[in-house]
Structure formats: C-alpha cells, structure tokens
Symmetry: C2
Subunit: 332 residues, 2 copies
DNA sequence: GGGTTGGTTTGTAACGCTTCAACTCAGGTT
DNA sequence: AACCTGAGTTGAAGCGTTACAAACCAACCC
C-alpha cells in the first residue's frame, strides 16, 4: 500500500518531476499536450500529493488553529462551524483546540500549532493582555481574537455589539407600551453585564424616559438558578414591573419559571426578553423573545480576516463588531 | 524569524544531529552528560522540532480526522469534546470536518485527510454500506464509526444502547404506578424510533403488563412542532393516558407545551419522559426527566479505539455500546 | 546561416528530521 | 598483549516536494 510519489507520476508521464510539480502548482505554464499527459498519469496512478513534503518545502502548512474555551458552549460551536465552513472552501484545515480558559493548556496548544507551522489561530484568549499579544506575536503566529476590546489595534478581532443588543431589546419592550424596565444582569464586573445594561439605558434615554425607568437587578452568575432568584425578588418588589430584560437567556428562563410558578402570566402580566437566543429559548414553555447573535457569521468573519492577513501583504488589522438582532417570540 | 533547526542545536551542543534526534525520541540511550548538554542547547536556542519534517520522515502525522455531520448537533459537540480531550493527552491533533451528511463533502474530507497522512478518522458515516467501508479501507485510512450497527465486525464502532435507554425510561414510569404508557416515536424507519420503542415494550413485558399497555403515537420528525401535535392527539384520545415517553426531548417538550396549554398539570395529570437530555430539558418550565447519553465518554472511547488500532498490532476490531442513564426531574 | 527570442522543460539543491549500519573507545577477558 | 564487549555516538542516505537556474528548441529575424 505504498503511496504513489511524484517521481512515479513523472516516469509514467515521461516527464521530469519538476514538470509534474508545475502541473500541480502552475498548470498554466505547461504546454497543453504535456498537461494532458500528466493529468492522465496522475489519474491512472491515483496520485495524491504528500502534504508533509509540501509543507516542509514551503515552510508552512494548511492548518489553522481554532483555539476556544470550549466547543460545547453553543455560541462557540456556531463560531467553530462558521470558521470551518469558510476555511474549508479556501483549502485550509481546522485544528480544534479546547482550552477550558486554562492558560497552561492554551500555551501548550499554541506551541503545538507552532510546530505544525499552522498559518495562524482564531482564538478566545484566556487572559488577554499587552504582554500576551506580544508574546504570541513573537512566536510568529498570526491571530484573530474573539474578544470585545478596543485596546489592541494591532490585532484583528471580531466581537458582538452588546450595547446595540441591549438597546434593541429595551426598545422593543418600550415600544410595547411598558413604562419601566427591570434589567437583570450578571456579575457587575463582566463586560456583558455592563454593555447590555448600557444599551438598555440608552434605549430608555432615546425614548425620553427618566433614568429611573430602568431598574437594575444584579445577580451573581449567568445561571438558571440565579434567574429564578432574581424573578422571586422582582415579584416581591414593592414597585411591581411589567417588563424584564435579562442579560442572558438562562437568567430569563429562570425568571420565567419564578413568574409562572407564582401564578402570573407571561407575557400578559410580565413580559420577558433574553439575550443570546440559545436553543432553549425557542423550546421553552412560553417561547422566549431573545437577542440573537449570528455566531456562524462571526466565525466566518474571523476566518476571513486570518486568511486575508496571510495572503494579502497590504493587510490592515481591524476590529469587526457584529450587530445582533431581536427574535420576537411569545414572551413579550 | 527563521526557525531553529536540529542542526543548529547539534552545533550548539557539540554533538551530531543524530544525537539530538535521539535526545528527542529515545533520550534513554544517551549518556547522562550528553543528555544534559543537548537539553541545554535546546532550551537556550528555543528549539521546536518541525512537525512536517518529522512526518515526512516517519511516513505518518499526528492528525486524526473528526468527521461529523455537524458539530452544532449538541450530541456531536459532546462527542467532539470527548474525542479531543483524549487525543490531546496522547499527543494527537484533531482535524475538524463537517459533512452535513453530504457524501461529496465527506469524500473530499477523507481525501484531504489522506494527503495529510492522518492516523485515522472518527466518523459519522453519511451513507454506511459494505462498499463504503471497503473503499475507505482501500484508501488506507483507519476508522472508528459512530454508528449503531452490528453489520460490520471488521470495523470499530461506538454507539448508544437505545433499547436499554427506552427500557429504563419505561421502567421508571411503570414503577411510578402508571398503568399504561404512550410512546411517541419519530419516523418508523429510523433506528432510534424502533429501538427506543422496543426498549419501552420490553420494560412493559418485564413488568408483566399486556401488550396493549404500550400505545404508540408515530410522528413525522423529531421536532418540537411534531411533539406539540402528538400532544394534542394524545389529549384528544378516547383512552386518556397518564404517562408519555417520547423518543427524543424535542418531542417531549412539544408534548409538554400542548399539555400545559390545555390546562393539564405535569406531572400530576400526565408524566413525561424524554430522551437525549439536551440542555433545554433541564431548563424547561417543568424540568424534563430524560434519558441521558454521555456523549463525551462516547467520543473519548472512539478516540481510544482508534489510538489502540494505530499502536497495538494485536488490535481486534470491536463495537462498544454505551448504556445511557435516566436523569429524573420534575416532569415524572 | 548565425543569432535571438520566448515558451517549455529539466537537473538538482534545499527543506528538517529519522534511521541504521558503522565506528569509537573504555574496560574487561584470556 | 591481543581480543572482545557493549555502551555511546555519528555519517549519510533517504522521505516527497518546491523553486531556481540552466538547458532546450522551434520559430523568427537580419
């Protein structure tokens, strides 16, 4: 089962190996008759160029590292699929790496990708910093970050516009006639909490509502359980609400459970809007209105940026911000 | 930014390249002092072996193809993660490929993996047949299938024991005192429908119930919408039911929506059990009892089988069947 | 007829590593 | 003193490709 080499093809076609190599890489330089002869030889022998040899000679391979916190995160799964789709069409190969936000693992993966002479990495950086960026740069790895930060103009990155998302959710609720909005956020130090809340406030301001029109309920984590508790707090509040915007779908589902359990109707008594549009949002008892992010497009865009960086010497680093959109369902 | 080669390390350490190569691959043959000298040279120079060169010389690479219908399928996402985890620990690299059940795409991916001299593939075959297996074999690609079939004893495969799963779901319901069970299946030609139903029937038989104790409701697809319709049909039935087992969670969630909408209570009036234990099962309005499959373990097992096939000449092909387990929640 | 041209083709030196037969040499045997 | 042993080391031949400079050659020009 010895693989066919370029030399055998050359012999079969009665030409030199250089000609076969040209056939593979620059067919247009060959005389038409030669081209046909080589093509035939390739077909009859079932020749398959050896990627390793190619890479050794070229100095770089076709691999691209996809370094993610965890593919199981549905958002990242979409990103992975989007990246793979595009990279495949441009002849690249995707090497999947899960870091679990562990800088050690991340480091080892980058090291491995370097040995493979990967063309670059699409990465959710575990610990982004100037030093980190510089170090990866120094390794000679090109990269595109999945990260929402304006601090690194010398790296390409793609991210979601959380402020815009929060704004569209709140605008939607206000347009439905709700006077005030209760915004359930995650931990205050997380960018998502901050930005989505800011979008919410901006919508209120734009609609001419006073600042108190947005009431904040902060939770300790973006979980179902925390959502349930937030829901109970909201119901027990002295100033009842008719509209709740949650910075994430799990929180929203939790709030809905609490509300339903208390015998209140959704959306009649209380309208709820989430963020992320996870699968559970659509399949919930009362399907949840949510801010949807096109993770597939995001992954594709990252892939495109990387390929551009590799192929275009005039490449300029840039940051792509993706606008989400609202998916209206029964909960609002 | 020229990469350091083995030759430079050899010079730095004052030894031959063969010795450095030995240091890398069989350190135990070196004299301790030499070993230290080489180690030091490697460190100071920051040497990183070139994977392509290694592969060219060895005749095979470190890559393993992970060829799936679609990583976005939550089950396959888990499989992917499980496979990656294990392959990483044994120094392999995962190449992600999505086929969308398109034999053309699948074919192209296998071709590509062959050029990369991948060690093998873990695959959800788009169209399994004797001919297909033989062809992939002929290409010289080792493989492990994610497929539930006993027809190919000459290939390793891993799958879920659907019969056992159906049985545990039904046993659970019967143990709760339900006299009869309505089993909502997907299309009758799909293996999952058949096997899960069979498990259900087996449980009834084992519990000494008559055959009519299991009533079948067939649907056209494993979707939420079909579940809703099945639910309506069940509610409208002349022979009311108190327990429903659905061959998949989406069907179960649909049934639950129909039941709740009709003002009946879960689990008081009707108990529901699903299959797959997708995320939405846990986050549903009434958390859904479901048959859980450890996709991570499945992926890991497939990876292990492949590695064994590569490394152990005495390897025997085999089929691994994974027993699922029931996750009891509020719906039953 | 000799010279030029430009389209084609080719010989061969890398690319960086592994492997294996061959070699070295200190220490032990006879 | 001649010989053997075995641990440690090494030179060089690949592995399959690419790319470059050189060679070839038919057609064309003076």
């Amino acid at each position: 089962m010895k693989a066919v080499s370029i030399r055998q093809v050359a012999r079969e076609a009665g030409v030199s190996v250089a000609t076969v190599s040209n056939f593979l890489n620059r067919p247009e330089v060959l005389a038409p008759t030669t081209r046909d002869r080589v093509r035939e030889a390739v077909d009859t022998l079932g020749y398959r160029p050896n990627q390793a040899a190619r890479q050794l000679s070229n100095g770089y391979g076709t691999g691209v590292g996809l370094v993610l916190f965890d593919v199981r995160n549905p958002f990242l799964t979409g990103v992975a699929r989007g990246a793979e789709d595009h990279l495949h069409t441009v002849g690249r190969t995707v090497v999947l790496c899960n870091t679990d936000v562990d800088t050690g693992k991340e480091e080892r993966y980058l090291e491995m990708l370097l040995q493979q002479q990967a063309q670059g990495v699409l990465i959710t950086p575990s610990e982004l910093s100037r030093a980190w960026v510089d170090r990866v740069r120094a390794l000679g790895l090109r990269m595109v970050l999945f990260h929402n930060s304006t601090d690194y103009p010398d790296v390409c990155s793609v991210a979601v516009d959380d402020v815009a998302g929060g704004e569209m959710a709140a605008t939607h609720l206000l347009a439905r006639g709700h006077e005030r909005i209760t915004c359930v956020t995650g931990p205050a130090h997380m960018r998502q909490s901050v930005d989505r809340l800011e979008g919410c406030r901006r919508a209120a301001a734009l609609a001419g509502r006073p600042e108190e029109a947005v009431e904040v309920v902060e939770t300790g984590a973006f979980t179902l359980d925390q959502g349930r508790r937030a829901g109970e707090r909201i119901l027990a509040s002295s100033r009842p609400t008719t509209a709740v915007f949650c910075a994430n779908d799990l929180l929203a589902l939790g709030v809905m459970q609490a509300v339903t359990r208390a015998g209140r109707r959704i959306p009649d008594d209380i309208a709820v809007v989430g963020f992320d549009d996870i699968e559970s949002a659509a399949t919930a008892g009362v399907p949840l209105t949510s801010v949807h992010v096109d993770s597939h497009a995001l992954g594709g865009a990252a892939a495109r940026l990387l390929v551009e960086e590799v192929e275009d010497p005039a490449h300029r680093h840039r940051r792509l911000l993706f606008a989400p959109h609202l998916v209206e369902r029964a909960s609002s």
